[in-house]
Point group: C2
Chain length 367, copies 2
């Protein structure tokens, strides 16, 4: 924090929707002050999710609010766009006024951890943010919480939490089958299902560290883990036909053939829900499986949960997730940290973000 | 009706599931008596629907009850299978006992019109049926009703009636878009929607008598009729973007590309329901339209409505349809009659059924 009032930040500016390498640029920016209704946040950790790529490409129906950011090299020059990155956690290092409160009307103090929550208008891939106090959620009690815990609540943890409750009313002992089960959302879904008495069948790719992944997901509470290449084999058909409960919900973030093969295991009257599209392949369904198995196919988008519910409702979800984490009942998605804190500059941050977007691992940028 | 007690009938026997030409055979049968709990029905009119072909092929999850029918040529010989044909109306010409009542506990008298209702175990493509009284619905008041009215209640009229009420709760002024709109179910859907204050967009093929079909559907109450080949053109896009109400429900009996192009006109949060598959092409959906348009895809099968509701509920649907017909508010699906009454024999009935199954027109067999 600068005593002069000038605040310099290293940030990723998104100029328009498109391929990340085309529309994202690292810049050294300068903020001249912290307006009264704002806070200065120094980012600690920012996630890089598959959904970031989709958002940047413009798959999400969200617009880019054009803002003018001043360049540190020449503050008379502006760069227009928004700051990219949809999820992260930071520390408040300056208050616009002594009385600022967050979106849930909780008083913010210097030193508080906050999660920026701005529906995409101001992103997390920036060493510092000058952001409206009403656009953050403050975490007053950080005891027992890590930056990783807080960093993945807004997107992945909340998605899985809500999907298990909002799509169908599951009974204890019901099975949920999901693909991309080692994703961030997949890891949360396994744990929350296990906590709430539901069982999970987890479809993952056949990868080099397959057994290690199985062991990890099992340690989270996964009941069954299968390779996508094994879907449809007599062994897996036999295994999933003889469960001690019905497979009532399928959760899809892949699409294409993987989705189609997974759907075959749903019970009659089951629901197939798509919340992501890691492949761009469409979802294909035969008429008889709609008509005679009485399957329902629908989407799940957390954006609609946020849009259609008052703050008090979704804050309750966040607080519940944080409490489960404090109690050690829910662990954060595993992610590799890309530490940019030494010698941070625009080029390093840009390279790091491009690497992160192309990584097959779950990664987070550590500021 | 024979005074000797022997009843001869010309019937289509289905031996197993498969291609109609392989598994259907015309036979002259003989029934030796009418058991106490049965009635003898002389069929008046029997429909031939696209769903008959699917049922014969085994697409429907219904089994074939094996029964032994005695051959008229040699009553010591049996033919095993069931009588095909799922819908029709006939006249009761003999009662097993004086006290027989139908499935709704209504007393049956000689001369009554009845609709056989036996979930596929004994079909309508037979000049006569000896059938359990509890397997028919009697129509006591036939005033103002034609055989065509009664013949298409069980499948097509009831399907459209229930689909408009059961899939989503439509509001007055909402639009329903349907393909195969000139089908029997399509014609009922247009009329019932119009009666109940919903509007319809009707997709049909570009056929020789296109304008004649448009005029007919319009006379039934169709608000908009479009060619399937015009879906996706700027003109139709423009027309359907500027309606005075939302398109909340799509009704599909075609599948494939036609279904995909129709789905694009659904409002956000809309429902796409499949009740038939005139092509065997699957239904293809992109992940974003599930996620961001929040569309729901599901099936509709009237079989489940019958299975999941007590007789009193579905009888109310039938009685309501019949009353609308008596009042002239609902007209029967247009169908060409194939009259087999002159010189009826096994070969003629078999040829007529095969022709009917391959006909592109809606046809009914007149006994």
């Amino acid at each position: 924090m600068s005593d002069t009032g000038f605040i310099s930040a290293t940030s990723i500016v998104m100029s328009s929707h498109g391929e990340p390498s085309e529309v994202l640029r690292g810049h050294e920016l300068v903020f001249e002050s912290v307006p009264e209704d704002c806070v200065l946040v120094e980012m600690i950790l920012a996630s890089v999710n598959p959904s970031d790529k989709s958002r940047i490409r413009g798959v999400y129906p969200t617009s880019i609010p054009d803002r003018d950011f001043k360049l540190a090299s020449d503050p008379s020059q502006d760069v227009t766009g928004t700051l990219a990155g949809n999820e992260g956690v930071g520390k408040v290092t300056k208050l616009g006024s002594a009385q600022v409160t967050d979106i849930n009307n909780v008083q913010i103090s210097e030193g508080d951890w906050v999660i920026p929550f701005d529906f995409g208008s101001l992103g997390a891939w920036s060493s510092k943010l000058v952001i409206k106090a009403k656009s953050v959620v403050v975490i007053k009690n950080t005891e027992g919480l890590t930056a990783d815990d807080c960093c993945s609540i807004k997107v992945n943890a909340a998605t899985s939490y809500r999907m298990l409750l909002d799509i169908v009313t599951l009974n204890k002992g019901d099975y949920v089958i999901q693909n991309g089960a080692n994703s961030g959302a997949g890891q949360y879904l396994i744990q929350l299902a296990h906590l709430w008495g539901f069982k999970t069948i987890n479809v993952i790719r056949d990868r080099a560290n397959y057994q290690e992944t199985v062991d990890y997901l099992t340690s989270l509470g996964a009941d069954i883990v299968v390779k996508d290449s094994e879907l449809g084999t007599p062994e897996v058909d036999e295994q999933l036909k003889n469960l001690d409960g019905p497979i009532r919900l399928a959760i899809n973030c892949i699409g294409g053939e993987n989705a189609q093969k997974m759907a075959r295991y749903l019970e009659a009257n089951g629901t197939f829900s798509t919340y992501g599209a890691m492949t761009l392949d469409p979802i294909v369904v035969s008429a008889p499986s709609f008509i005679f198995k009485n399957l329902t196919y629908k989407g799940y988008w957390l954006g609609l949960f946020y849009k259609n519910n008052p703050v008090s409702v979704w804050i309750k979800t966040w607080y519940d997730i944080l409490e489960l984490m404090r109690q050690g009942k829910l662990v954060a998605q595993k992610s590799r940290h890309l530490d940019v804190s030494a010698n941070l500059n625009a080029e390093l941050l840009q390279d790091t973000v491009f690497n992160a977007l192309n990584s097959s691992e779950k990664v987070a940028i550590q500021f």
